[in-house]
Symmetry: C2
Subunit: 352 residues, 2 copies
């Protein structure tokens, strides 16, 4: 791996303590590069950053309409959620609409991502289950898709193994990912994701292209274009569902609504659709750091790309230039987008 | 910051997903470089990796003897512990020996580092306090030093503000750090650590030198040399106290005893004394990652530097070349020292 530029730096006092390297691609729906920093041709595993693309068949198939999925339910189908009570209830409700329960989930179990939710669960003497898995909404969406493909009769048996690359459900999901990115996934390096579905390594610029298509509808089939619009609307109306308390995606989309549709993925990947400008964004931090690095870069990109009112502008600046405090609340340093990254992003020009 | 070499790589399936860059310095007690990879002249904040150096005055002052501190108590004075019940009890016991309680601690509060300990605390309806802070043992050690310097009469008032650079207690601690590293800390960049004491940026090779001195006693004052030996012995006898359940430092020192005295610090720093070879080791990962990166490098260094029996050899290999599994227990990839790092470390030659 070539050394990508430093995009984020952590200072303690006034001295550099740590730094994060990475690459950023911004592409329009024609596939033209709007902005590229670092190696944007390298194939990266997008992980959870492409959940919206993986949810396109849920809407395009008619499953969402047939099961009367709500905005919250469509949003959580695209989520890496905190495992808070509202997330668990929403994912459970989707399964019930398909006549299933949590036993049908094949995502595995982990404690809630939000520490407070874990402590509340423990204080009630309960243990975590698959509904607390950050991917439970995505998997509930897969099972709703399975319901539309097969019907309720024998659904549990039909759905079993839905995480496998060869299953009919995953075939639909992978086809949508391939159509949106324009990459032949049969030829792509493949790995297994944290929740057991396949993840395909895709050039960063192609991930950005897919989100430019999500932003504009251009380059997608009519059914996928309508599905993308519906999912973006649902996320904008229920941004809590896509992440949760204190999370970047939730806070940014609560502030900006449909102007940004962003999604974090594991290992320092971030994707976003920016409908105002018709652009897609894809970020990969070399070291795989999300909270410390990819989020800071995404905040700086949004600041440079969009015209923001004072409130959202202040929020985004607090996410791209963070004051670091210690356990006593003392200011000990900062975490920020590098001046070099900001200078480069200035080339995006004035937002419309 | 120059791009240091990639020392650790994370693979998903057979494809590279993420990578960690960093620098490694191994130095002997004469200050000669035994091994250097990356920029070992750059000053880095050592954070908690130098807690043993900061505990030298606790022993050298006679405080440890006067208060009859046990091996466990001396070990936790050098610890970044998990906040497990035994850690909390040990730190509390030290404070009691000095006639103080947890109110005297100025480290701040956070929930235990071990998730299971947090859940147990929450299940009992309790909240975290300063004794759960991973630094509580180090701070209890500072307060025991304060007791030796001032006596019990009016100790609470004397000790107040002991975390400040200008306090007499911190003066002793800083002087020990300066003597061990040979660096004029009055001229060094200074920051505030997570627990509110000062942290000084020190060239990586000088940190390695300090630990070569800890390994050999050479270059330290007689009192500090005796203190270093006593602390290394205490840690080897009570390695649980220095970290806790499942932690690298505890597992490695349970297996290797006094042959390794290693300590993690925040932001991807790791230091170790290797008495078998008379060497000190200092590692800094550029991106500040500990669990994913600095630990892997330290394991590879120990493997290359020491002659290991089959059991410890297998343990170390499991820490330098890790199988990654997902929430369903499926193998999804690996995290490992790069072949280039292993090749370079081969130059250390056959262990004695």
């Amino acid at each position: 791996m070539n050394a990508n530029p430093i995009l984020v730096e952590a200072l303690r006092g006034s001295a550099l303590e740590s730094a994060h390297r990475g690459a950023v691609a911004i592409v329009d729906a024609d596939g033209h590069s709007v902005f590229a920093l670092g190696d944007t041709a390298r194939a990266v595993f997008p992980r959870s950053a492409v959940k919206l693309l993986q949810a396109l068949p849920l809407v395009a198939s008619g499953a969402a309409e047939a099961l009367k999925l709500s905005d919250a339910e469509l949003a959580i189908a695209c989520a890496s959620h905190n495992g808070e009570p509202a997330h668990v209830a929403t994912a459970r409700g989707m399964l019930e609409k398909a006549g299933l329960d949590a036993d049908a989930l094949e995502c595995g179990t982990h404690w809630p991502g939000l520490d407070g939710a874990t402590r509340e669960l423990a204080a009630r003497g309960e243990a975590a289950g698959p509904l607390h898995n950050n991917c439970s909404g995505k998997h509930a969406g897969f099972l709703c898709l399975a319901c539309a493909m097969h019907g309720r009769e024998g659904l549990r048996a039909f759905a079993r193994g839905y995480v496998e690359p060869g299953h009919a459900v995953m075939g639909e999901v992978t086809a949508a990912l391939q159509a949106a990115t324009g990459v032949d996934l049969a030829q792509a390096p493949v790995g297994t994701d944290g929740c057991s579905i396949p993840t395909y390594a895709i050039p960063l610029a192609k991930l950005a292209l897919a989100f430019a298509r999500v932003a504009t509808g251009q380059g997608l089939s009519p059914a996928h274009a309508r599905a993308a619009t519906r999912l973006r609307q649902a996320i904008a109306r229920a941004p809590f569902m896509v992440a949760g308390t204190g999370r970047f995606d939730t806070r940014v989309m609560e502030a900006l609504g449909e102007r940004v549709c962003c999604k974090v993925g594991a290992e320092g990947v971030y994707c976003a659709a920016l409908p105002d400008r018709g652009w897609g964004v894809a970020i990969k931090m070399d070291d795989g750091n999300n909270a410390r690095a990819a989020e800071v870069v995404m905040a700086a990109v949004i600041e440079a790309a969009l015209r923001l009112d004072a409130g959202p502008a202040a929020l985004l600046r607090s996410l791209s230039d963070l004051t670091l405090r210690n356990w006593n609340g003392r200011v000990v340093g900062c975490l920020r987008a590098t001046p070099a990254l900001r200078d480069a992003l200035a080339a995006l020009g004035s937002p419309r």
